[in-house]
């Protein structure tokens, strides 16, 4: 089951976020989760012996792969990038305030 490999990647990211106490590691975990989701979406659209969904002038193309997941992933990549950028900027700002990336030391708020 190739989907399961994807899920393992997802779980690595989740594990990283739950266990690690470092802001950058958490960001890395987030991006790994994102990657696994992109991969999953593209996998569900793949067709055996498929071709890229682009028509060409010279030859007749058949058996194109599903274009919708690809469009979705393109959108999701942009959103992932946006969230990542915002996260990094907040992490940098937090570093400036506390002088560390360790969330045990940052934890000022309870709850």
């Amino acid at each position: 089951m190739i989907y399961l490999l994807c899920m393992i990647l997802f779980c690595i990211g989740l594990y990283c976020i739950i266990i690690k106490r470092n802001l950058i590691k958490i960001i890395i975990g987030m991006s790994i989760i994102d990657y696994s989701l992109f991969l999953f979406l593209v996998l569900i659209g793949y067709r055996m012996e498929g071709r890229a969904p682009i028509y060409s002038q010279t030859q007749q193309v058949k058996n194109l792969v599903d274009p919708i997941p690809q469009a979705l992933v393109l959108t999701a990549i942009v959103i992932g990038l946006a969230v990542l950028a915002l996260m990094i900027s907040i992490a940098i700002r937090l570093y400036e305030k506390y002088g560390t990336f360790d969330i045990n030391e940052i934890r000022k708020l309870r709850g």
Partner: protein, 498 residues
């Protein structure tokens, strides 16, 4: 008529870009308020449209669904649209004065409008992936707004919120991916149609769990709540009002209702309703118990949000027409009075410069308008008769008894009493008692902030009137019908296309 629907998204979006383009503060003040006012009026118009035309579908780019994206206007959407735009208008009016304390006011308005766009779009959309994109738009704007003050606590709260909420979004995306693979379409009505003849399977159950976790994080239902008491107090007060008043409802509760009742067709499944009820009671009790011990006024309010969301979920979880009516009515009421309370707390913060209740006192003479409106909202949230909170809680409790769940009714009453006690504390410490020395210079708030608060207080006072048949049949009942007929969603939408 139906060409009005995309304007709910396009108008605030365009305004946000425009405000970002010309960075004039006065212009931003004016334009943002104009924009929210127009949106509010437009949302009121949709009630009339719904009455005359029934459910309406708008085809984006003239591609018939499932090829293109469609917008769907039905009862539930109208309810949420009115709520969102009402609160947005009040908060926006309030921020004219309040945001003077911060720098970069025009950017604030741009982000505010983008968040509003996200919520409006999410409520209107009829497409699964589009829902995710709007979820992220509202989410990203709210992360930035929570961190707006750039103090250490705010940044930290924002980071926590962001991480949890992104995990939620990741679960939602995974669910959408699986749903797409399972049904090979993204349109909600189409998915509902295909799922209804496929029946229940492990896959749909798993997708359901994924959505429950994802949207549950956004709605701050109890096992997923830890971000809320940090994030909501850290944001500027109008944003707290937006977050607590409508964001958790539009992103969380609305999405749960739409996806589970209309798309996945779990709506009248007794096991699912039982889960909702248990989650509701848990949120209700844990939220209110944690709230009592708080001294920070905004933190206290944030815990109450968790508790009041519990009421909404409990009411809907009953699955009877009366219960759903109570839940949805409470959703509207909670938006109004919780926003009002957050605006009050913002007003106190603005005037006194602290959020700690122990350092306040004797503000009754100094700030009469804030005192009166805060009293209204407090009585309303704790369910004292003439105010709107009483009616919706009464309906929920009656529905509990009617549906033979007296235990839940008991918990709801207990929760209400605890709420009352904690708001007595707020009133006692903030407005009565001996005035502190520091309080001498305090003045009443600027007029536009007062106006926003009075506006919401009036709605609080007369909110109970929405139960009169004249309003109820046009405003609340269609929304209840949507949930009750959740399994017919596909047929209704498809019928509109012809």
């Amino acid at each position: 008529m139906s060409s009005m629907l995309p304007l709910f998204v396009a108008f605030p979006l365009g305004s946000a870009f425009l405000i970002a383009l010309c960075k004039n503060k006065k212009f931003a003040d004016f334009w943002a308020n104009l924009c929210t006012l127009v949106l509010f009026i437009m949302s009121l118009q949709t009630i009339g449209i719904l009455k005359t035309h029934g459910t309406m579908v708008y085809k984006m780019g003239n591609w018939a669904p499932p090829i293109g994206i469609s917008l769907v206007l039905d009862g539930l959407t109208v309810l949420l649209l009115v709520t969102v735009n009402l609160i947005a208008f009040a908060s926006c009016l309030f921020s004219v004065g309040y945001m003077e304390k911060y720098t970069a006011k025009s950017k604030y308005y741009a982000l505010f409008l983008l968040m509003l766009t996200g919520m409006n779009g999410l409520v209107l959309t009829g497409d699964m992936f589009n829902l995710f994109v709007f979820l992220e738009l509202a989410g990203v704007a709210s992360y930035a707004l929570v961190a707006f003050g750039t103090e250490a606590e705010e940044l930290e709260a924002s980071f926590k919120y962001m991480v949890l909420s992104s995990i939620g979004a990741a679960f939602v995306l995974l669910g959408i991916g699986m749903l797409y693979s399972y049904t090979s379409t993204l349109n909600m009505a189409d998915i509902a149609r295909i799922l209804s003849y496929r029946g229940l399977s492990v896959t749909t159950l798993f997708i359901g769990v994924l959505f429950m976790v994802g949207f549950g994080i956004k709605a701050a239902i109890v096992p997923f709540h830890p971000w809320l008491p940090d994030a909501h107090p850290s944001a500027p007060a109008p944003i707290s009002a937006m977050l607590s008043g409508v964001l958790i409802k539009a992103l969380g509760i609305y999405a749960i209702l739409r996806v589970f009742f209309c798309v996945l067709g779990f709506g009248l499944n007794p096991a699912f309703l039982e889960i909702l009820r248990i989650l509701g009671v848990l949120s209700m009790m844990i939220g209110v118990v944690l709230a009592i011990g708080q001294w920070d006024i905004k933190r206290l309010l944030a815990y109450h949000s968790i508790s009041q969301v519990g009421y909404v979920i409990l009411g809907i979880g009953l699955g009877t027409p009366l219960g759903i009516l109570g839940g949805l009515f409470h959703l509207f009421n909670h938006s109004v009075f919780k926003s009002l309370l957050f605006l009050n707390s913002g007003g106190l913060d603005y005037a006194v410069g602290t959020r700690n209740l122990k350092q306040m006192g004797g503000l009754k003479e100094k700030m009469p308008v804030t005192e009166k409106t805060c009293l209204t909202a407090s009585l309303s949230i704790s369910g004292i008769p003439p105010f709107n909170g009483f009616w919706s809680k009464l309906i929920i409790i009656l529905a509990c008894i009617q549906a033979r769940h007296p235990g839940y009714a008991f918990w709801a009453v207990i929760g209400s009493i605890l709420t009352l006690s904690s708001f007595m504390k707020v009133q006692r410490y903030a407005f009565y008692g001996a005035p502190k020395k520091v309080m001498k210079k305090i003045k009443e708030l600027p007029p536009c902030m007062q106006l926003a608060m009075i506006f919401l207080a009036i709605i609080c006072l007369f909110g109970g009137a929405l139960l009169l048949p004249m309003f109820k049949n046009n405003f609340l009942q269609p929304a209840v019908q949507v949930l009750l007929n959740g399994d017919k969603y596909a047929e209704i939408v498809m019928a509109c296309l012809k």
